[in-house]
């Protein structure tokens, strides 16, 4: 097993509903979806965001989209116009989740490191990403 940052395995989009942030986490390669289901649990996400959210974390599975949807309650300092946060609509919680590290098998580690995605490589992503 090797540690790898989620940004190499998944992409994400986040948004708000009141004081709750939702994060949709999508496997870049469908074959990695079961790994996300196994490792990126509601508990792991709650732990990852410790100190940033004050409520519970719920997780929903969308195997049809190779995606997980997380609801982070009490994440927006009251939410909407009440919130004093720079990111009162939770738009950047998506990439905050992608900072999380999970254990993956050696072969997955080699594959995602070779793909060179999402960590500021920039042009590296361009070389592999065309046509997606």
């Amino acid at each position: 097993m090797r540690r790898v940052q989620l940004v190499r395995l998944a992409h994400a989009r986040s948004g708000d509903k009141g004081d709750t942030v939702n994060i949709g986490l999508v496997a870049i390669e469908p074959e990695d979806y079961p790994l996300l289901v196994e490792r990126v649990t509601a508990d792991a996400v709650r732990e990852h965001f410790r100190g940033m959210i004050h409520g519970d974390v719920e997780r929903f599975e969308l195997p049809n989209l190779n995606a997980l949807n997380f609801l982070l309650h009490g994440a927006l300092d009251g939410g909407g116009t009440v919130s004093l946060m720079m990111d009162a609509q939770g738009k950047t919680f998506s990439t905050a989740l992608l900072r999380m590290e999970i254990d993956v098998p050696e072969d997955v580690y080699r594959r995602v490191m070779a793909a060179d995605r999402g960590t500021g490589a920039g042009a590296g992503g361009a070389a592999t990403g065309a046509g997606r």
């Binding site: 992409h11 410790r50 940033m52 049809n64 116009t81 998506s94 905050a96 997606r132």
Partner: protein, 457 residues
């Protein structure tokens, strides 16, 4: 028309979205319907205030000149427009559009429909008196807690009244607070004659609506995967739904436009503002987003099929806004060396000043833009930044302490840590906080009050 594909274009993801997007949608290829989403949750309170100051206002003003610009094309090519631009003054919005149509030489050739009955501001007392608590869906508190501070209250209406307006021949359908998704699937119900209990097809329409309602966010805008390879966002094509009578549809955009329509761009938008994906509740149907099947059907074409739905509920969502105090945000920029340490020292000085002045706030928040304002503690300890922006914000039920706070930022330039700049914009503005109160109400309290009126220019 019942067996043909219809093309429903998205022209506006929110009030303030790219101004020429609807014009491009009309002129750069074939479409049959154009949907425009103008209303965010807090927009209604702004419009109620505008109407209170001027009885001829209270709707999305940008919509009117836009109609003047595109109506000649729409009439010539049979394109029909659906927009929740009516805000809290549907008749005034309609009259302004009618006037635009006449001055564009379209008298007698444009029919404008309005959907009235979502505005509950004048009915709240009566509803509460009759036992409706309008409990906050998040906190469970009854609306009586804040009813004296309410600024707007609207029920979310579904597709039925829009379909009625289309059936009466409306070229333009203007609603107040309708669901964003219904603006996309009302044309499907109208064109394909779907039954009100055809749950799977209605749910497919909702999914199409969810893809359309945020404009270019489905066609490459704000898309994280391979973002740097998405072409020509300066000319991004907004989404177009090619809907089939069986409920399946293709997401695409006009040929020659920028952006991208891929399984990744559509998936990201499907997950945006998602709750429980099995229960996407709308006034017309409960859609199950775990049944959606996506497939790349060609360049910039994604096919969507398999969507299942369940019967609608007997409740409608109500969106209420109320006054909830004041806030202000002050910012200053500190330069290397020790940029973060200087900003932190300025924050300590500012807080001590606020204390000495005896100012009390419900909350003071400090963030450092360039270090931790988006990812918080996940950003780790401060690196040696070339510069950082100190961002301090305060909130209070009273205006006075917030006002005083706004006068304590500029003095830090001469009284605080060195190498500071970024105050050219002047004193921070005191903002009124308009908070949002989501609730549910029985469908039977709303629907008998909904009216559809269609008139000819």
């Amino acid at each position: 028309m019942a067996n043909e594909i219809i093309r429903i274009a998205s022209g506006q993801g929110f009030w303030g979205d790219r101004l020429d997007a609807p014009v491009e949608q009309v002129r750069r290829g074939r479409i049959d319907f154009l949907m425009l989403d103008y209303l965010a949750e807090v927009t209604m309170s702004i419009l109620q205030k505008q109407k209170a100051r001027d009885p001829s206002q209270g709707y999305a003003r940008d919509f009117v000149p836009l109609m003047g610009e595109i109506l000649p094309d729409c009439v010539e090519r049979g394109i029909r427009v659906l927009a929740n631009a009516g805000g809290v003054n549907l008749e005034a919005c309609r009259d302004a559009v009618l006037a635009e149509a006449r001055s564009a030489g379209l008298a007698g050739r444009v029919r404008v429909g309005v959907v009235v009955g979502d505005d509950l501001l004048g009915r709240l007392e009566e509803l509460i008196d009759r036992g409706h608590e309008l409990q906050n869906l998040d906190t469970g508190r009854p609306l009586t807690d804040v009813v004296d501070r309410v600024q707007s209250a609207n029920a979310y209406l579904g597709a039925e009244p829009m379909v009625a307006a289309l059936a009466e021949g409306a070229t333009v359908v203007i609603t107040g607070r309708s669901t964003d998704t219904a603006l996309t699937y009302a044309p499907m119900i109208h064109a394909f004659g779907w039954a009100a209990d055809d749950w799977d097809r209605l749910a497919a329409g909702v999914v199409a609506g969810h893809i359309n309602e945020c404009g270019a966010q489905a066609t490459g805008g704000n898309c994280l995967l391979d973002w740097e390879t998405i072409p020509n966002l300066a000319d991004v094509g907004f989404p177009i739904i090619e809907a089939s009578p069986d409920g399946s549809f293709v997401v695409t955009k006009h040929d020659g436009t920028g952006g991208r329509v891929s399984v990744a761009t559509v998936t990201e938008q499907l997950l945006y503002e998602m709750g429980d994906p099995r229960e996407y509740i709308t006034p017309d149907v409960v859609a199950d987003f775990t049944t959606i099947r996506l497939e790349q059907a060609g360049p910039d074409r994604v096919r969507v099929s398999g969507v299942r739905g369940r019967p609608r509920t007997d409740k409608l969502k109500v969106s209420i806004s109320y006054h909830d105090g004041y806030k202000a945000v002050g910012t200053l920029v500190y330069a290397w060396p020790d940029a973060v340490a200087k900003a932190q020292a300025a924050d300590r000085i500012l807080r001590e000043r606020l204390d000495r002045l005896g100012l009390r706030f419900d909350q003071i928040r400090t963030e450092y833009v360039g270090w931790n304002s988006t990812h918080g503690p996940l950003a780790g300890p401060p690196p040696d930044l070339p510069e950082v922006q100190l961002r301090v914000s305060v909130r209070s039920a009273e205006r006075e302490p917030v006002e005083r706070f706004t006068r304590e930022i500029a003095p830090l330039i001469l009284t605080g840590p060195p190498s500071v700049t970024g105050f050219a914009g002047g004193r921070p503005r005191v903002q009124e906080i308009v908070a949002f109160w989501p609730a549910l109400i029985d469908r039977s309290e709303i629907e008998p009050h909904v009216r559809v009126e269609v008139v000819t220019a």
